[in-house]
């Protein structure tokens, strides 16, 4: 049962990600990307990462994609020469991508030999990916990186304002 759900979600994720790349019109591509993000959050749910699933929908599908759609809508429509002017590109890129995919799958099938539960005591599943357990770790052990994250956001805000300042 879990396997069937995972297969459906995985096929949906791959199809929508390909849709982002293949689709000619940018708004459609953004909609494909939103569906891809929601599918990924469902996959996080099957991995018992409930808090991350919520964060994924809130931040990516909510904030980031609204920004993308806004940007697409204030830009005038562009005519894009989709696959480049030279056809030679395609013949170089596609074999390279296939080789990369083969390498990733080969490494994963031959190199992943970790035994589960040999060294570390497993946490209980109910407490694993919820807000309580993540908050405990985030605010105790990783407090300093968490504060530095706020600095990153501040830098992003200042940078965005500075880049769009009116010309002197």
């Amino acid at each position: 049962m879990g396997l069937i759900i995972f297969l459906i979600l995985g096929i949906m994720a791959v199809v929508t990600a390909s849709g982002v790349v293949i689709e000619k019109r940018p708004v459609y591509s953004a909609i494909y990307f939103i569906v891809n993000l929601i599918t990924l959050s469902l996959i996080y749910l099957t991995l018992h990462a409930e808090f991350l699933a919520v964060v994924q929908v809130l931040i990516y599908a909510g904030a980031v994609m609204v920004l993308f759609l806004f940007m697409i809508m204030i830009m005038p429509p562009v005519v894009e020469n989709r696959f480049g002017k030279i056809n030679l590109e395609k013949f170089i890129i596609i074999p390279l991508l296939l080789i990369l995919l083969f390498e990733i799958i080969y490494v994963l099938y031959s190199g992943l030999t970790i035994d589960i539960g040999k060294n570390m005591p497993p946490l209980s599943f109910e407490k694993f990916g919820g807000i309580a357990s993540l908050g405990q770790i985030l605010f105790k052990r990783y407090l300093v990186p968490f504060e530095i994250t706020s600095l990153i956001l501040l830098v992003a805000v200042i940078g965005a304002v500075y880049l769009r300042r009116p010309d002197q």
């Binding site: 879990g2 995985g10 994720a13 791959v14 990600a17 982002v20 790349v21 940018p26 591509s29 990307f33 891809n36 993000l37 990924l40 996959i43 099957t46 991995l47 018992h48 990462a49 808090f51 991350l52 994924q56 990516y60 980031v64 993308f68 940007m71 830009m75 562009v78 894009e80 020469n81 989709r82 696959f83 002017k85 590109e89 395609k90 890129i93 991508l97 990369l100 995919l101 990733i104 799958i105 994963l108 992943l112 970790i114 589960i116 539960g117 570390m120 946490l123 694993f128 990916g129 993540l134 770790i137 985030l138 990186p145 994250t149 990153i152 956001l153 992003a156 940078g159 965005a160 880049l163």
Partner: protein, 100 residues
């Protein structure tokens, strides 16, 4: 129980699709979206390893990675708007001069 290798293979496939988007497309907004797809693929690998080892540290890392991705999108889109006002084009091939 779903084998964790399936999740890792899905993450690899999504990463390769993202690379293809960056290499094939000429529209810079779509290129930025493909970079987001690659980031999401890596996040999926983090979460599946976190599930395999039963350690929540991987999920903490994904939280930081999502924050950095949001900041990156903000700065990237404002750079795109600046370039558009200067060049009147969204084509990555037109942006071949380093001078602002």
């Amino acid at each position: 129980m779903i084998p964790i290798k399936l999740y890792l293979i899905l993450s690899g496939v999504l990463f390769v699709i993202g690379i293809g988007g960056v290499l094939f497309r000429k529209n810079i907004i779509i290129m930025l979206m493909s970079i987001e797809i690659m980031l999401n693929a890596v996040n999926l690998a983090f979460v599946s390893f976190s599930n395999l080892l039963m350690l929540p540290k991987g999920q903490i890392f994904v939280l930081f990675s999502i924050t950095v991705a949001a900041a990156e999108v903000v700065v990237g889109l404002s750079i795109i708007v600046s370039i558009f006002h200067k060049k009147e084009s969204m084509d990555a091939d037109d942006m071949n001069v380093l001078k602002g």
